[in-house]
């Protein structure tokens, strides 16, 4: 079969033998036997390290978990600077974990997590930071300061954890370029190799934010702005 790989000067076509082979196996074969200059990242080859995220036919995949098809077009992740061939600079998206304070801020020593409760953030803590969600995110594409999917999922992981006492600080941190900037398009959910829905986590963070007294700033602007900003408890304008 033939596949095309986007390299420095555009797509290059490769004839490969691949029967039920993963894309990573095929890339290894090309690099080792045909073209030593082909450049990509990989490590665990079993979908837990997040190194080999890339796009096939414009959809984000882990190369080690994708079975190659004839005619596949392989490219680097979007919304990040390509360093070379399929390797991108993910530094920027990585910094959002720190910006969003995605860690346990203050330990609640009295917390008790029973078996049922462990499921609250079980999936969120499976995140491998592969960056597929930032590549698929239309908001990040136009606003490079948007905290983005995996950082917000990580915030939800800690906010939802009984061991976290510093929930308020976390909620305060994600109001600007955070939960309200998401368009809830679900693009991140579709491409996540770990079955995480950052969109759903962002919605849950919105509920928490509302409970903490925050509201959607775009809503406040479009309505509140027009009417002088004074709405009564029941939503009727106050004069």
């Amino acid at each position: 079969m033939r596949i095309e790989i986007k390299r420095e000067n555009g797509f290059v076509s490769y004839e490969v033998e691949a029967h039920n082979a993963t894309l990573l196996e095929v890339l290894n074969k090309i690099k080792q036997e045909k073209d030593n200059t082909l450049t990509y990242s990989s490590s665990c080859r079993s979908s837990v390290c997040g190194s080999c995220s890339m796009r096939v036919n414009e959809v984000e995949v882990l190369a080690c978990a994708y079975k190659v098809q004839d005619g596949d077009k392989i490219e680097a992740l979007k919304n990040m600077r390509v360093i070379r061939d399929l390797v991108v600079d993910m530094d920027k998206s990585y910094t959002f974990n720190a910006k969003a304070k995605a860690w346990l801020s203050e330990l609640n020593t009295g917390a008790s997590i029973i078996h049922e409760k462990q499921h609250i953030n079980e999936v969120q803590s499976d995140c491998i930071l592969c960056g597929s969600c930032y590549s698929a995110c239309p908001v990040y594409a136009v606003n490079e300061e948007f905290l983005g999917p995996f950082a917000l999922t990580r915030v939800w992981k800690y906010v939802s954890d009984e061991r976290e006492n510093g929930v308020q600080e976390k909620i305060d941190t994600i109001q600007t370029n955070g939960v309200w900037d998401c368009t809830l398009c679900d693009g991140c959910t579709v491409v996540c190799p770990q079955g995480i829905s950052s969109k759903a986590d962002i919605e849950k963070l919105r509920v928490k934010s509302t409970m903490a007294g925050y509201s959607d700033p775009s809503f406040a602007q479009s309505f509140g702005g027009g009417f002088g900003g004074d709405f009564g408890f029941d939503g009727s304008p106050q004069f």
Binding site: T22, S46, I128
Partner: protein
């Protein structure tokens, strides 16, 4: 670029060391040849041992006894005692930083039985234990403002005129530049060397033993390099790991006739030999977890199901999983004392790259995650203390930069093909069952390749992200490691744990 403590490797051991060195007051920098969170630690599935008695009675003494027994007399009892005694507080610490452990009905950390253990001792997070620990450690590093630099590949250690290590020479993979990172103490935490077995290994491709080879070149002693653990249950085609938890939870090991032929919960070396012998009889070997049921498999072993489907095309809920034993963990490594210090002044080591003398001839499942947390802390604290007593020093550059040497290499021979040849040779000759003749043959072959190293080389001339170059340097490092492994094996004439001499 300067820091009190420089750490090579951002896996579990490196990050634990970084957190504790910082806590001790040192300025810390961590370098990794990948991104942080990509390391081998994320592949640890089964669990982390601590005698908590959350799932039946257990004791620190029993943990010590099991570890000692598995080590076959080749470990240090004091070191084991320290590790096992620290285990409960190590787990408590991980719980306090937010690791999402699986829980019991009463809200305690859940525990399960792994091979060689007399009790349900392994704390786990489904079968993603290492992944969740690693990522939580990473979050703590961000919280503490610890600087971690990605795509920085260790080339050599720098020493001052007294021979004390004072930094590292590093390839910036992104720019192709050679950089010097100066430090008052250096910790090697760069992982093990199972990838000398290439595709006959469960490990990530990055586990090439770089730090061990480079420490040895700087004068550090290595210890017990011949002790390589073969995991009984790698997937037959891809060598991807099916966790010991599959057996711990009640899975059977069966042959082509569907017969069980061994004790599934025997230590890994015993089970690997039993499976190897069965395969040599012409049988195929499988792990069978069908009787555990779909609900249980999805709750406790979700990753196993996913991996078996993806890489072997079988669904373990309904089918047998084909397996073979493959290289999984390397007990050998840089020799360190009880302060995680090597014999070279200023150089410390922890994690799989180090040998803290706790695994001996065979590591118990669940003790590696424990080791990185307990001894990662020791390395971080002690390196920080050492650094406080030091002035910043000036390196004395003696040898030529390896990148300059490689430029002269002729590249007539293909190192990728040779790398796979060596992997096969080592799996067959320096593998589960060894003979003196086979070992001698392997040694000869490695020395022969080393003598001809200048006939290999790289064809990619780019300075930017040249993985061809990085993989070639890894190959050079692996040759040194291979030599040390075979030499160790030849010197040890009597079978012991994972080192088994056959007829």
């Amino acid at each position: 670029m300067q820091s009190d403590v420089l750490i090579i490797g951002a896996g579990g051991a490196g990050l634990v060391a970084a957190i504790h060195a910082k806590k001790e007051g040192a300025s810390v920098k961590v370098l990794t040849k990948e991104y942080p969170t990509r390391s081998q630690t994320c592949m640890a599935q089964g669990g982390m041992n601590a005698a908590l008695s959350n799932a039946g009675e257990d004791s620190v003494e029993a943990h010590i006894a099991n570890t000692l027994k598995s080590a076959q007399g080749e470990a240090n009892e004091e070191a084991i005692r320290f590790m096992c005694s620290e285990a409960p507080s190590a787990v408590e610490w991980l719980d306090s930083i937010g690791v999402c452990f699986s829980r019991t009905e009463e809200g305690k950390i859940a525990q399960r039985t792994l091979g060689g253990a007399s009790a349900a001792r392994a704390c786990y997070a489904q079968d993603y234990t290492g992944l969740k620990i690693l990522h939580t450690l990473y979050d703590v590093c961000l919280k503490e403002g610890i600087e971690i630099e990605a795509d920085k590949y260790l080339l050599s250690l720098l020493k001052d005129e007294n021979g004390t290590v004072c930094g590292a020479e590093v390839l910036d993979i992104r720019s192709g530049d050679t950089l010097h990172y100066m430090a008052k103490a250096v910790i090697i935490a760069s992982g093990g060397y199972s990838r000398i077995y290439g595709s006959y290994s469960t490990n990530a491709t990055a586990s090439t033993g770089d730090g061990i080879a480079i420490a040895q070149r700087a004068g550090a002693k290595l210890k017990d390099m011949e002790f390589v653990q073969f995991h009984p249950t790698g997937l037959k085609k891809s060598s991807i790991l099916i966790s010991e938890s599959a057996r711990g939870e009640g899975g059977y090991v069966v042959n082509s006739k569907g017969e069980r032929f061994t004790n599934e919960l025997a230590p890994r070396d015993v089970l690997s030999r039993a499976i190897d012998a069965e395969i040599k009889k012409g049988e195929d070997v499988f792990i069978d977890i069908r009787h555990l049921g779909e609900e249980f498999i999805d709750d406790s072993l979700p990753q196993e199901r996913k991996l078996a489907k993806l890489y072997e095309n079988v669904d373990p809920v309904h089918e047998l999983i084909p397996i073979k034993p493959v290289a999984h963990y390397t007990m050998g490594g840089i020799q360190v004392d009880n302060k995680s210090q090597t014999n070279v002044s200023g150089l410390f080591a922890c994690g799989e790259s180090a040998n803290h003398n706790v695994h001996g001839a065979n590591r118990l499942g669940g003790n590696s995650l424990l080791e990185i947390v307990v001894f990662g802390k020791e390395a971080g604290v002690n390196a920080s203390k050492f650094a406080k007593e030091q002035e910043q020093r000036v390196p004395k550059i003696e040898q030529e930069n390896i990148l300059e040497s490689i430029k002269e290499y002729t590249n007539e021979l293909d190192f990728y093909a040779q790398r796979e040849n060596i992997a096969k040779l080592f799996y067959e000759n320096v593998g589960i069952v060894r003979t003196k003749e086979e070992l001698s043959l392997a040694l000869q072959e490695i020395q022969n390749i080393k003598q001809n190293i200048s006939k290999f080389g790289v064809s990619d001339t780019s300075r930017v992200y040249n993985t061809n170059l990085v993989e070639f340097i890894e190959f050079i490092n692996m040759l040194d490691i291979c030599e040390a492994v075979v030499q160790g094996a030849l010197q040890r004439e009597v079978s012991c744990g994972a080192h088994f001499m056959g007829e």
